[in-house]
Symmetry: C2
Subunit: 224 residues, 2 copies
């Protein structure tokens, strides 16, 4: 077995930049095939990170909100990922939030890890492509049906379990203790060391850390 | 004469990410030689941008300050640019600021544009490499001597002229009207259109906009 570098990708489906990082790393279509890495998806709670660090979402500053919309479209175009901001952006991001969705992914992660990616992708597409909600149990149920998630009802019920609540809380704390203040939060495990990166825009620096080449949105297969 | 895309690089020597963008773009050593671009250095005042937009420097959030220090070191290593944070970081950035230095560069830009780059580099190295100050007239004088700036005393005197004060104010307003909320602010003039980018980390997207290839910190010569 080849020795691969494990990369934790802490993500929240409320975060469009997490989606970009997710699509870059995951789906086993991009750099997992060309760099010697193994991606570990870690659902956590961005709202908890913001609260713990006193950080504020970029769209709280009007000029940043306008820029972010443009920057997201450019990133989406560059990476070939569709991104459509929800119509009721502030309500979606600040009030409805992602707590239930992230608990659901945490429950899936604990019992059926290989289903985290398809469910996360479906939830992202609901909120960041199709203008659908993700904060209600019925939303989670629809997402589960769409991707044919086994044991969906048990996993939905687990969202309110102490075990899931404690797990997501601990993970969010772990990220904050590593220095996290937003999402995505990417942890490269180099032997005993952890190198932490914030954002979807540090791919060239991550490549540099790994001793690999960043080839843009469509990596060459010859890197590995 | 080949038709080159003009890129305005709005920068402030107080800003380490401006330094990274500057070294990427300017010095006629990197992408100006491999992409069909012509870089126009535009000194402006970051403090004025922050005030106009209500944005706050990243180091006002403790977790961001810690991350920023690490991120700057990684960027410096990647780009081969030296960056040493000033010992008295908060005092330097928040209280001493860069108003006189940026006025000085504005005066130079109006009368002797080709000297903007060497003076800016020297000022950056004072504050972001050698732990020296840039807020006093004697600092500007030292920088001018170091790079053998012609007419230094007249240019230093011009810092307090109405013309220089108005020019820097107008430029800062122009950037804010374009959507700027921080530095560096990079404006790509594509025909009648302006594509604006924030930060030193949008090189892959700028390449995509130009139809060029981003080759990392040491561009190939074959792109043009």
């Amino acid at each position: 077995m080849s020795k691969k570098t494990v990369i934790d990708l802490y993500f929240d489906v409320i975060s469009p930049y997490s989606r970009i990082a997710f699509e870059q790393f995951q789906s086993l279509l991009r750099y997992e095939k060309s760099w010697p890495i193994e991606v570990n998806l870690v659902p956590f709670f961005l709202g908890g990170v913001m609260k713990a660090t006193g950080n504020k979402p970029p769209m709280m500053t009007p000029a940043k909100a306008i820029y972010m919309n443009k920057d997201l479209q450019r990133n989406a175009d560059y990476w070939g990922v569709k991104l459509v901001p929800p119509k009721d952006l502030m309500e979606t991001l600040l009030n409805r939030g992602s707590l239930m969705a992230q608990r659901f992914l945490t429950a899936i992660d604990a019992r059926n890890k290989e289903h985290v990616a398809p469910v996360a992708r479906e939830l992202w597409e609901r909120v960041w492509v199709r203008n659908e909600t993700i904060h209600m149990i019925s939303d989670l149920r629809e997402a589960a049906e769409k991707v044919k998630l086994p044991n969906a009802e048990a996993l939905i019920a687990a969202c309110n379990s102490t075990s899931v609540k404690e797990t997501i809380k601990k993970r969010t704390e772990t990220a904050v203790n590593q220095g996290c203040f937003g999402a995505p939060w990417i942890v490269v495990h180099k032997g005993e060391r952890e190198e932490c990166f914030f954002g979807s825009d540090r791919m060239p620096l991550i490549a540099h850390t790994l001793g690999c080449t960043f080839d843009g949105p469509y990596p060459l297969r010859s890197n590995i």
